[in-house]
Assembly symmetry: C2
Amino acid sequence: MQHRWLPLALLCLSLPAADLRSTVESYVAARQGPIVAELAALLAIPNVAADRVNIRRNAEHLKGMLERRGLAAQILETAGNPLVWGERKTPGARRTVLFYIHYDGQPVDPSRWRQASPFQPLLRDGRMEDGAHEVDLAGRAKFDDNWRIYARSASDDKSPAVAFCTALDALAAAGRQPGINIRVILDGEEEAGSPSLTAAIERYRPKLEADVALILDGPLHPSGRPTLTFGARGSLALELTVYGPKFALHSGHYGNWAPNPALRLAQLLASMKDEHGRVLIEGFYDGVDPLKPEDRRILEAVPDDLPGLQKLFGIARPDAVGESLQEALQFPSLNIRGFRSGYTGGDARTIIPSEAIAAVDVRLVKETPSGPMLEKVLAHIRRQGYQIVDGEPDDAARLKHPKIVRLSRRDATEAYRTEMDLPQSVLVTEALRRIWGAEPVRLRTSGGTVPLSPFIRAMGFPAIGVPTVNFDNNQHSENENLRLGHFFRAIVTMAALLAME
Amino acid sequence: MQHRWLPLALLCLSLPAADLRSTVESYVAARQGPIVAELAALLAIPNVAADRVNIRRNAEHLKGMLERRGLAAQILETAGNPLVWGERKTPGARRTVLFYIHYDGQPVDPSRWRQASPFQPLLRDGRMEDGAHEVDLAGRAKFDDNWRIYARSASDDKSPAVAFCTALDALAAAGRQPGINIRVILDGEEEAGSPSLTAAIERYRPKLEADVALILDGPLHPSGRPTLTFGARGSLALELTVYGPKFALHSGHYGNWAPNPALRLAQLLASMKDEHGRVLIEGFYDGVDPLKPEDRRILEAVPDDLPGLQKLFGIARPDAVGESLQEALQFPSLNIRGFRSGYTGGDARTIIPSEAIAAVDVRLVKETPSGPMLEKVLAHIRRQGYQIVDGEPDDAARLKHPKIVRLSRRDATEAYRTEMDLPQSVLVTEALRRIWGAEPVRLRTSGGTVPLSPFIRAMGFPAIGVPTVNFDNNQHSENENLRLGHFFRAIVTMAALLAME
């Protein structure tokens, strides 16, 4: 099938963006079979970060994929899983772009997947939740855009690697050179927080330097429009334990006398936010830049369907931190991820529990680094009369302090934000605008936290996220999937990025 | 051994209380072997309420025990486990006393017991927790007061049945008639809430009528002094579910926008009580009688070791509902038995949970019946802006009401209280005061809730609790035990009650 399109592709040398798009689209349309087969082969290698043997199989496989596209590729050893690095210089190119992708995937619970294995890719003719049927994958040459591949990492984050390689193939088939020097770094521990990547910077910095990093990860905006992400909130995860009696007491015999730690914790948590979701901790929002009119315009341009989201989520009235979801994401947030104390439901017992635990995450923005934020939270807790301790309080501490809270976890990842008016930002935005003939959705700050933040901050050059997969991909959950139409479009987007000059 | 004491016992006819005490004590001292053996034989019959076959074996066994003491005994069938009833009239007696005991026990998890089986009684020469050693039980004639029998229901509530029967033996051995008409009712479902007993009242009421019911159950006051309980708090158990988004959302992508149900629930619970544990729900304490000086004197006379309890429990500052534990128990209380939402600890995930659940119990006093109390709690919840629903809210409800709480459980047991100045109360108090030569601890309201409350309220005559076992008996838990000194003293107390006129 490839040969039929080659003559057409050869015409596309140096053609403008619209022609690059049709060139790549035609290439992809003609070679769907081998492209999807290459993806399926990669998905068939289990990639849970803790599975060292298979992780290395992934790394070797990816190194081979890069080499086949003319990249000088290496396995870079780290204290943890290996990185896969590749480089291809383009004669005359003025800029170097570092493409970041991760090849590890979230842990799996195979029993919850509706297929033999998360690592045996399954093709369905639509969304499983909509009653889609299984379609035979092996040997197939044509695929409908609405069909989906179900497998761990189909979306997060193996398909960008295949799309990237295929975009290089498409350019090559069109006889076209990339416009940039290419560097690629494939991370094998993203889902485990990328500890080895950041640690490896000092060792491998010269291999990683670039003018801009493009992070090929994550889903498109739900509108399905091409999307760029210029920042991500950080996260400060805390675990708080409030203490009651040393052991659970009978709520009849001691209720009204022995303090209840679940109530204490409820009061503490309630003191942190108002009725409308605004944080009451002193100084919590301090330093957050007021939005510039230009920022506000960009936020307003994000085509969020807020009434649709409210309906989907069953939310009658959103919290009132910002005037919109996008505005809300420009501010730090405080969230109770979970709490527990005593028993509920069938296990409920008439006790005053001995402790109550809450897991809290504070989402940070660029202006609110984790250190000062933690101090503000702790100062607030102290103002509620608490003694803050690091370990289980002993008898003396219990008898001395009426209110004790233990801070048993304080994991922080900082936020990052790349200004949208930097030359690199403008270049990438233009590349997408030109190839798709429309304004990309520009997210000033993605609400979530990316483990890559420390890497981005340590490298010191701008980073921009280029997500490509479908929003409803069940990322991090069972039955992860990739809509093939999104995958095919990703190849076009990658080609546009490679063609940047 | 018995014969040796008979001549002495015969001298005791109509002797004053001090002599009755020494008579019974001597009887018990001389016959410890067979008395403990009778207890051990009863404990060897498994008595979990759901074990119908063994429950009936218990009932038949107890019927035989009563018959051997000259009671006309019957098995009274109910919809559930049988009741064992007995009666023995005393010529010339002016009063009829109904003795209540239960013969079922809490469920057991044998793996958590430090003995072959909870139904193979084991003798130890002290408290297991203090390193006591096993002592051979079979064939033993003498026992130290500090020794303990470990077995399910050793304390709760089989030993009172044996003590009661032995007290009749001791009176008989002394040639002495009881001073009252005796009625006994043995409940086989107390640990399951006594559903069949209350339901059986209409069928068996004439057999149950009495001037006073004495409830032979529960532990002595921790001081170890003879104790009488004149009431118990009721309980209103509620389960509340507060709703957030229909499914858990990513706290990064939607934090600051999607309301968090754990925070909402924390705010709701926090609104119910102040910093000092006082309930803020409007009208919560309405109707509770101010304590009369006499009541206050009695409460003050309870020898609670509050500093000792604070130390034991690790409580720096008790809640401030009353000026003491006893005073606090005269008021209704509101307790969070448990709550949960999302995940904590190693399972914590960066989500906005979809719901948050709290199990709450309101302890009731006589003046605060459950119906109006529930209405007050619900009115408070509504004042916080909540729509209260009975089932899972549908999409329309979620989109209509910003704050929804589901009330999924509302189990109520009413409180009861027998006034301490009633003739029956005075009679029982006097009986204990005379036999022990000291003021009994009088608990105006026991903090806990007894399933017997509906029975007491339905029968309409006063009820008084006469607990006898050791406080540290591991009741309701594994390794339940009975201190034998308490058991031997229980026999004396029972004799005093039987001797009342």
